[in-house]
Point group: C2
Chain length 325, copies 2
């Protein structure tokens, strides 16, 4: 994997990052959540994007970790809001400690993200902070839309795509843009990197929704079928509600209206998955995800940069398309 050196450098940078010491109740949860791992997707995108323009991509490591710290801050707070017991197979911060600790540690994590972002040339700091602020606000907006959708039954595909664009994709866009800004790319190029990141982010989330239904439980980190159990209004469910007719439609509505605790979850997951497959939702969702990935690739391929410089980033993008976990 041509992106392996980048991943290793990020791993070391994360391990060497300190967030504060005292009081320990505030800082221990930050070390904890950052140590749970994950794909380090966002800092990889930052360093790989910087590498398009410079061999000195190491100088983006601290800002790249800022994006990862921000991402984990959103996970810590989202997990409180979603009452999630597990994160990457380990107890969430509010479960291991308590909700107050998760609120306050998360707050100081957001401040830590800004502190790590300071490690850029002063000349590009205003742009970096401005773009990060916009992105961070949009991620919060996406989370609020996601929560609003829980109690709505009329969420459209456009609304769902806009929600995941805000909640997930803009941060991938910013991660790539940030690498370009620090490496001195011009405005048109950093905008192209942002667009590529957002598009691949949409593909990434749609793929995540697919894996939530069709993933191999041995490989997928989360509970397969979790979205189906929660009636989460994903692209797949919204599409199924549009396409289903007759008995299939009745079956789908039956499962959507059963109260939790009154049915066997494995039966529901199998039944709804079966409906999706009958309706060809898997193929439709895969095609939609691939279209977003393809647009991202196209933008990257059109960048006026030598192919050798692009290779690690394109390799990583291909890895994302083919991932099973």
């Amino acid at each position: 994997m041509t992106f392996q050196p980048f991943l290793e450098a990020i791993g070391k940078q994360v391990d060497n990052t300190t967030y504060g010491a005292n009081p320990i109740e505030l800082y221990e949860p930050i070390q904890y959540i950052m140590s749970l791992g994950g794909k380090r997707l966002r800092p990889l995108l930052t360093t790989l994007s910087a590498h398009l323009f410079t061999d000195d991509w190491h100088k983006t490591l601290k800002p790249a970790v800022a994006v990862e710290v921000f991402h984990n801050f959103t996970l810590m707070h989202d997990d409180i809001m979603d009452c999630a017991p597990l994160r990457r197979g380990k107890p969430t911060v509010h479960e291991k400690w308590n909700a107050n600790t998760a609120i306050l540690s998360g707050d100081v994590m957001l401040v830590n993200a800004y502190e790590l972002l300071l490690d850029v040339e002063p000349a590009c700091l205003p742009k970096v902070i401005k773009r990060f602020n916009r992105t961070a606000a949009e991620v919060c907006e996406g989370q609020q839309f996601d929560m609003n959708f829980e109690t709505r039954t009329d969420v459209s595909q456009e609304e769902y795509i806009e929600m995941i664009r805000l909640k997930t994709s803009v941060l991938l866009g910013f991660a790539m843009e940030l690498g370009g800004i620090i490496a001195g790319a011009d405005d048109a190029t950093t905008q192209a990197l942002y667009d590529a990141g957002v598009s691949m982010g949409l593909g990434f989330q749609l793929k995540d929704d697919l894996l939530d239904v069709y993933g191999d439980p041995e490989k997928f980190g989360k509970q397969v079928g979790g979205d189906i159990i929660a009636n989460k209004k994903t692209f797949m469910l919204i599409e199924a509600l549009l396409l289903a007719e007759g008995e299939t439609k009745e079956q789908l509505h039956y499962w959507l209206t059963q109260e939790q605790g009154t049915y066997d979850t494995a039966t529901k997951v199998a039944a709804v998955t079966d409906i999706y497959t009958q309706l060809g939702i898997d193929k439709i969702a895969e095609a939609k995800a691939n279209a977003y990935f393809a647009h991202g690739f196209e933008v990257l391929q059109n960048l006026p940069v030598a192919e050798t410089r692009k290779k690690p980033l394109l390799d990583f993008a291909e890895f994302l398309v083919g991932r099973e976990s």
Copy 2:
């Protein structure tokens, strides 16, 4: 009041500040908490500190409001942690909406504070963000110490002072320093402003603790006696525990160990207040607060700035010393 024009300009700036529009669930609570008022102490300190060096203090209005937005963000999150039902006599955000909304609106408020801070000359942005980051982390540390103290019985005066320094005073210090930085003051001067702000912040908090016990219920915004009911380990309680002997000591321990709901709160407040007065705690606390204020005044008086430029800031500081609410 020579600081009245500053207060009016801040009021207008707060009224004209927008935080975002959609989704409304995210942004309405921000408008709400910012509209509840308050003394606007922190932005006043920023503008008054800038006025020490320039007539063009209006250019500090947006960053000054950033400090106020940050302060209100901490109130929104602290109120969740403290299960506080009221803020400035109105329902808290987590009561009026819910805890998830208060978490997420607070998060985006912190981002909004950084966005407002961007309205400074690019040359001073790195310093502004660096100092703000440090201050913001310290405020979170102070809140964590405050929560830790709830379950401890051996909090010392030094620990209490350090906790209020972090939770309250450093933000007043930063508010003053920020005004100096934007107005182009040199490092020694901005450091002096910070020190003056921290010192007055300590005086301010000790005065707040005093008013919590001895304030006029008609004038004091909060419930008089709240700290006594909650057994909050303030400077006053810690001092009383050090000084009380014999029957007074027994009485104090009696009230500290009664379970909430098993006694009449007004009787407890009256009894503990009486013990404080017998022990002269009011005089001791007032002397301590005044010593911190005096140090702050001294630092300000030693600044190499014309007296006329200092007058509004000194007038405001005197207003703080004499406040009854």
